[in-house]
């Protein structure tokens, strides 16, 4: 039995596997001219090397469980060669499969070692057969899934108009919604608190304005100059916080030429970012 390179004239219109069953094996001369476009469509109908192999096997009407490896491999390689020659984009999987087929074929040619005791000798084709059958099962499964009446394609849900003449629908609220809203509020409040930290926040911003006004002329001021110890520790702290906040907001420049050298502060840029007062 031989697996022939078969190119049905109508192959491009229907996937080759659909043509397999019950069809006499058509043998065509190997040098048959195949229009490149037709071949491309024909080959694109395959989902991959397993699909192509299944087609070749089914087309030749041979038993998957007893694949004539030499014929199958030759046949497969012819297809791959055609694909390569026609510069069709050849997925790497096809080449991997080619290598695998040749390996199986060569192992089949080697004399089978005698079984040792009860140990069974694995047929070199076993893994390929397992994969082919598995893929064939899934292919069939895919077809069967596609046959099921599908919502949105074969069946549609019924959704008759709900006539609402009597009362306007009102939003429903449950107690948990309420708790959620309250927690949301608390979270917002906490976020606000984080940003504000304390009531001093206000006076920090106040001091930021005061400091910006002090630095209005754009000249460098020495760091110490900006603090008035006479106003007490809280004000010193707030002033310092204001300085840090201004630096963070890039409203002032703080410079120091080297460690322990005097620190100078200068207003950054010209724009007035903070509203006075």
């Amino acid at each position: 039995m031989s697996l022939a390179l078969v190119h049905d004239a109508d192959a491009p219109q229907t996937p080759p596997t659909a043509k397999v069953r019950g069809e006499p094996l058509a043998e065509l001369p190997q040098d048959l001219y195949i229009p490149p476009d037709a071949l491309e469509v024909f080959l694109e109908a395959f989902e991959g090397p397993l699909d192509l192999l299944l087609y070749l096997i089914r087309k030749a009407n041979v038993d998957v469980l007893d694949i004539p490896m030499a014929d199958l491999t030759r046949q497969y390689l012819e297809y791959v060669e055609v694909m390569r020659r026609k510069n069709l984009e050849l997925a790497a999987e096809y080449l991997v499969m080619a290598a695998m087929l040749m390996e199986i074929k060569s192992r089949m040619l080697l004399p089978r070692p005698k079984p040792l005791g009860d140990e069974e000798v694995e047929d070199p084709r076993a893994e390929l057969v397992r994969r082919l059958l598995e893929y064939e099962r899934i292919k069939a499964g895919a077809l069967r899934l596609d046959e099921l009446p599908q919502h949105g394609r074969d069946v549609f849900s019924v959704e008759v108009w709900v006539e609402q003449a009597i009362a306007k629908r009102l939003p429903q609220v449950c107690a948990e919604d309420l708790a959620a809203a309250w927690r949301g509020l608390l979270n917002q409040a906490r976020v606000r608190q984080h940003h504000r930290v304390t009531r001093e926040e206000l006076s920090v911003r106040e001091h930021m304005s005061v400091m910006l006004r002090t630095l209005q002329d754009g000249a460098f001021r020495e760091f110490q100059e900006l603090f008035d110890p006479a106003k007490g520790v809280p004000v010193l702290v707030v002033t310092f916080l204001a300085l840090l906040e201004l630096a963070r907001e890039s409203l002032i420049e703080v410079t120091q030429s080297e460690p322990f050298a005097p620190i100078y502060v200068k207003r950054a840029g010209e724009a007035d970012h903070i509203e006075a007062g």
């Binding site: 549609f156 849900s157 019924v158 959704e159 008759v160 108009w161 709900v162 006539e163 609402q164 003449a165 009597i166 009362a167 629908r169 009102l170 939003p171 429903q172 609220v173 449950c174 107690a175 948990e176 919604d177 309420l178 708790a179 959620a180 809203a181 309250w182 927690r183 949301g184 509020l185 608390l186 979270n187 917002q188 409040a189 906490r190 976020v191 606000r192 608190q193 940003h195 504000r196 009531r199 206000l202 911003r205």
Partner: protein, 207 residues
């Protein structure tokens, strides 16, 4: 050739599955063969009669024929209708939560906690629903109204008393809710106010 019963079956299926009213012309397109407009009309009348006494009826509207539920059944359907029911806006829900948990409160109290002004429509939406009312007036300048929740609020939420509101201890502890609202949220700068919903009026109407 379809029998009148078969034609009626197809008409019924088409009308039940159609989200929009179908005209006689639409319905005639269902069939390969010629089915006269008069025949369709007569079969639709028969169909309508055969649905008498059900929860769904076939009606003839200006835009065509459609099946619709009878209004009397709406009270059942709205309990199960899995379509998203209308929702109150965040502004309404937060205001309601504040009134429920902190009552009696003035509008000023609510504004202090929420950090934004409360649109009159928000209060009105809750009053119209019968969930809040004015319980007293605070003895303060302007004698602002103090709002509280009503019995209808408890009924609608399936609560027997305010004590059955979900407890909030987990978060409440982190914030001093007992303190005067002034301590809670004197928002003065634009930054945090910008996060808060500013369009209470529209939000209330979104309900």
């Amino acid at each position: 050739m379809l029998s009148p019963t078969e034609v009626k079956t197809v008409l019924e299926a088409a009308l039940l599955a159609s989200g929009v009213p179908l005209t006689i012309a639409d319905l005639r397109r269902l069939f390969d063969e010629e089915v006269g407009g008069d025949t369709i009309r007569r079969l639709l009348d028969e169909l309508r009669e055969s649905w008498a006494g059900r929860g769904v009826e076939l009606v003839n509207l200006a835009s065509g024929w459609r099946f619709q539920t009878r209004p009397e059944f709406q009270r059942y359907l709205e309990r199960v209708n899995p379509e998203k029911p209308p929702k109150y806006s965040r502004a309404v829900m937060e205001t309601l939560a504040i009134i429920a948990y902190k009552q009696p409160v003035t509008r000023g109290d609510i504004e202090d906690i929420r950090g934004v002004t409360v649109a009159p429509t928000v209060i009105k939406a809750l009053e119209a629903r019968g969930w809040i009312d004015v319980v007293a007036h605070r003895e303060a300048p302007g004698r602002p109204a103090l709002y509280g929740t009503t019995r209808a609020f408890l009924d609608d939420l399936g609560l027997r008393s305010l004590e059955e509101l979900p407890p909030l201890d987990d978060l409440a502890g982190s914030l001093d809710l007992g303190a005067p609202p002034a301590d809670v949220a004197p928002v003065s700068n634009g930054a945090s106010a910008a996060d808060a919903p500013q369009t209470d009026e529209q939000q209330a109407e979104a309900a």
